[in-house]
């Protein structure tokens, strides 16, 4: 055993209370405030507009769009100077030439000093289908991981791993709700990757816990988990660090479109690393995992 061992297990209780508290807040936020769904999931239209006229102000642009009778319009800056994102819900289905009409009317309002860099229009039927398939994707991947862990480990371990993943997904979503962060298709991808990453991180520690359980018959699980966390700690830190370096690079240099995606992942990697230590392991302790848990399984 190492000399300078960190006693993670001393803080199991305190951090569990903190996690429970965060989960509770997340649930409250998700129930009462909800998520800020983007065009993909809510339906409507998004236009990324670049202004070629430096004097055009955001309030001017907002006023012009409000004059077009598109209902509730939001206009925001997006990435670089002079880039804007305009979003609105359109109740009727998309008419073939409605984007063209907007261009023509906008030209009348502010002159021909803009270009549409991106247009996304999603009808209500498609958006509800996308939302459904997003939820199915997340549920399926959680289910598949549960089964995988179940096959590879004992059931106590799979409960620990799944609890950690649920913890991560809930808290990440809670954060999104708190920050009013826009949820679009790429966020589903980010959440799924978080699920994979968190699971990956938990599995590494669990593998070590299992190995140590076999090795030491006289050490309690409370200590075993701590030894295992310490033994894998430098790996945990290094991998989190390189992953975060890559993600930070996307966040800073990857352009405005990937900002939300990489932010979600950064959040997820941090929460996922924390939960492997402070959610997955305390559950093994609580479920009284011992050497006989593993040996029984092997006999069968």
């Amino acid at each position: 055993m190492e000399k300078n061992i960190i006693h993670f297990n001393k803080f199991y209780k305190k951090f569990n209370i903190l996690s429970l508290f965060l989960i509770l807040i997340s649930l409250i936020l998700l129930t009462f405030k909800g998520l800020n769904y983007g065009v993909d999931f809510k339906g409507g239209t998004l236009i990324e507009l670049r202004s070629l006229d430096n004097t055009l102000s955001i309030s001017n642009l907002r006023k012009s769009f409000n004059n077009l009778n598109l209902g509730d319009v939001t206009v925001k800056k997006f990435g670089k100077e002079n880039d804007y994102v305009i979003k609105f819900e359109k109740k009727q289905s998309i008419e073939e030439n409605f984007i063209e009409n907007i261009k023509v009317e906008l030209r009348n309002e502010i002159g021909n000093v803009f270009e549409f860099r991106r247009v996304e229009s999603v009808g209500p039927k498609v958006s509800s289908e996308l939302l459904k398939s997003g939820i199915i994707a997340i549920a399926l991947s959680l289910g598949a991981m549960l089964i995988y862990i179940w096959i590879r480990f004992e059931w106590q371990f799979s409960i620990g791993a799944i609890a950690a993943v649920f913890h991560d997904v809930l808290i990440t979503l809670g954060f999104f709700s708190l920050l009013n962060f826009e949820i679009n298709l790429s966020i589903v991808a980010a959440v799924l990757t978080i699920v994979g990453y968190s699971m990956n991180d938990t599995v590494v520690i669990f593998d070590r816990v299992r190995e140590n359980l076999k090795k030491y018959s006289d050490i309690k699980i409370f200590e075993i988990t701590n030894i295992s966390i310490n033994e894998t700690l430098s790996r945990t830190i290094i991998t989190s660090a390189t992953t975060l370096l890559a993600l930070l690079s996307i966040f800073i240099f990857g352009g405005a479109i990937l900002k939300g995606f990489s932010f979600a992942m950064i959040l997820g990697v941090i929460v996922g690393t924390y939960s492997s230590i402070y959610i997955a392991n305390p559950i093994l302790v609580r479920l009284n995992v011992s050497q006989s848990t593993i040996l029984k399984e092997e006999k069968e």
């Binding site: 670049r50 289905s93 998309i94 073939e96 030439n97 984007i99 270009e115 549409f116 860099r117 991106r118 247009v119 996304e120 229009s121 009808g123 039927k125 498609v126 398939s133 997003g134 994707a137 399926l140 991947s141 598949a144 991981m145 995988y148 590879r152 298709l185 790429s186 589903v188 991808a189 799924l192 990757t193 994979g196 699971m199 990956n200 991180d201 599995v203 590494v204 593998d207 033994e231 430098s234 790996r235 290094i238 991998t239 660090a241 390189t242 992953t243 975060l244 370096l245 890559a246 993600l247 930070l248 690079s249 996307i250 800073i252 240099f253 990857g254 352009g255 990937l258 990489s262 992942m265």
Partner: protein
């Protein structure tokens, strides 16, 4: 695990070189179809338009029910069955009433597997229509409704017709390499790479282009019935329901400038049947007005001054040259079986696409440099080995994507960068394990070996979990997100390959040479 046979080394090298070669093939010119491959750039990177169209099959269903109703009437009277009270309910069902004595006969005629009036689909084991009967006093009420597969059959056939028409219209406009695919049984996906402004194509795809020639009538009690149809300007005319000629009979249509009137017109040519019909109708109808109706609106209703017998004619109207060109195009490519709506549109301009590529490459390069520096600082010589592995990994990843000519999207680039960050994990797990093993083992080669052996299950477990997420995302995700899942998933496979073959080989070579060094790792 540190021993490699010569054969293994050679095959690993050959495999790596071949796959990596495909990465390079993206950037050089090779005059060979097999070796010259390119990663496809997604619409979000090269710019272009993604349109999802939905066919509104309601009119088709109503039309089919009407046809079925008249053939049913005839069928029953041919079989000497008295039936009354035919009607179509809710645009969904045919309903009619028969006497009780003939009920068994009718039901058996409708549910016979050889039935002509209600065909049996062997493949789906169901009839075209579900038949239901309800008793009303001394007679019975029978309703026919499309069965589940009857409806599928109908939708599939209108989708097949529609996709053909869509293809023709898109081809006529001449964009490069359009991608037109079926989605479900009532949707069509159109991908138009490089198209800067999809407005024209959208307005062309949104038109049914149902063209008919019918007489304007003053007599409202015509035997075929009449209806009021508006002109473009909103005024209405009473039009006979008798169709003289429809767009089906057109073989060509072109925009022209009429030299006499200086107006833009659309000239058309008819097939033989159409020419005959047209000649007959115009001979008998001299002096009448002939309305040219497109999608429920009258384009124009000129006077017939003389019979038109040559099988060619022209449509006048309030055209600009552009609208005449579009009308001619629509007429040439034919009418859609049913109206279509655009239910999803995603368009990215070429400027944004290029910006995204630049930002993606910049963040890849910076992310890569950061990870490489980190590994060198942390592991020195072994960090260097891990970095060589990382470079190889990147070449393999892009090589595999190129080999299969996969589509690279912006989130796909993010997946590659993420792979760079996570790929070192396997090597880190191994090196950390070796550090532990080396403490209790004097023979360093054995320590290295057991480091590899003992970390193996962990590495597999850890990578399989991420792979599961990637596979599910690939199956269920759409568009750009699918691209992310693809690079992430392929990245895991190339990572495992490069760690277990390339990094292990390099490590083995180094360790065997330097096994007596003071501080090895």
């Amino acid at each position: 695990m540190l021993y490699f046979s010569k054969l293994k080394i050679i095959s690993v090298l050959i495999f790596t070189i071949i796959v990596s070669f495909f990465t390079i093939s993206n950037f050089i010119n090779i005059d060979n179809k097999f070796f010259k491959r390119n990663i496809n750039l997604g619409l979000d990177l090269q710019g272009g338009s993604y349109l999802l169209l939905e066919i509104d099959n309601k009119p088709v269903i109503v039309q089919k029910l009407q046809n079925k109703l008249s053939s049913l009437k005839k069928f029953l009277s041919d079989n000497d069955i008295r039936s009354t009270n035919f009607k179509i309910i809710d645009d969904k069902k045919i309903s009619f009433t028969i006497d009780d004595e003939s009920i068994d006969k009718v039901l058996s005629l409708l549910s016979d597997k050889e039935s002509e009036i209600n065909p049996y689909f062997q493949r789906f084991k169901t009839h075209e229509f579900d038949v239901e009967k309800t008793k009303v006093l001394s007679s019975s009420n029978i309703t026919l409704q499309f069965s589940e597969y009857g409806l599928v059959q109908l939708k599939t056939s209108s989708q097949n017709q529609a996709i053909e028409i869509v293809r023709r219209r898109v081809d006529e406009i001449g964009t490069n390499e359009p991608n037109i695919l079926k989605r479900g049984n009532d949707r069509i996906l159109v991908e138009l790479p490089g198209l800067e402004n999809p407005d024209r194509i959208k307005s062309l795809l949104g038109k049914t282009a149902n063209l008919t020639f019918r007489f304007v009538t003053l007599n409202e009690e015509e035997s075929f019935g009449t209806e009021k149809i508006p002109f473009e300007d909103g005024t209405e005319a009473i039009i006979s329901k008798r169709i003289i000629l429809s767009g089906d009979n057109l073989v060509d249509a072109q925009p022209r400038m009429d030299n006499q009137t200086n107006q833009t017109v659309v000239t058309f040519n008819l097939d033989r049947v159409g020419a005959k019909k047209f000649a007959r109708a115009t001979s008998s109808g001299v002096g009448k007005r002939l309305a040219i109706i497109l999608d429920g609106k009258i384009i124009s209703a000129p006077n017939i001054s003389e019979p038109i017998v040559g099988g060619a004619g022209q449509i006048t109207g309030d055209f600009t040259f552009q609208s005449a060109t579009d009308l001619a195009l629509l007429l040439r490519s034919g009418a859609l079986p049913a109206p279509m709506k655009i239910i999803e549109e995603r368009t990215v301009g070429p400027g944004l696409g290029q910006d995204s590529i630049n930002a993606g490459i910049l963040s890849l390069v910076i992310g890569f440099i950061l990870v490489v520096l980190f590994m060198i600082v942390k592991y020195k010589i072994f960090g260097f080995i891990a970095n060589i592995t990382l470079v190889t990994n990147l070449f393999l990843l892009i090589g595999v994507l190129t080999l299969f000519e996969a589509t690279l999207t912006l989130p796909g680039i993010a997946g590659i960068i993420l792979t760079v960050g996570m790929a070192v994990d396997a090597n880190v797990l191994i090196y950390e394990r070796i550090k532990e093993e080396i403490k209790g083992e004097n023979n360093r080669i054995i320590a290295f070996d057991s480091g590899y052996v003992k970390s193996k299950t962990t590495i597999l477990d850890a990578n399989i979990t991420t792979l599961i997420a990637a596979v599910i995302l690939f199956i269920l995700g759409s568009g750009p997100v699918k691209g992310f899942a693809l690079t992430l998933g392929v990245g895991i496979l190339t990572t495992l390959f490069s760690v277990y073959f390339i990094a292990r080989l390099l490590t083995a070579l180094y360790v065997i040479k330097n096994k007596d060094k003071e501080k090895l790792i």
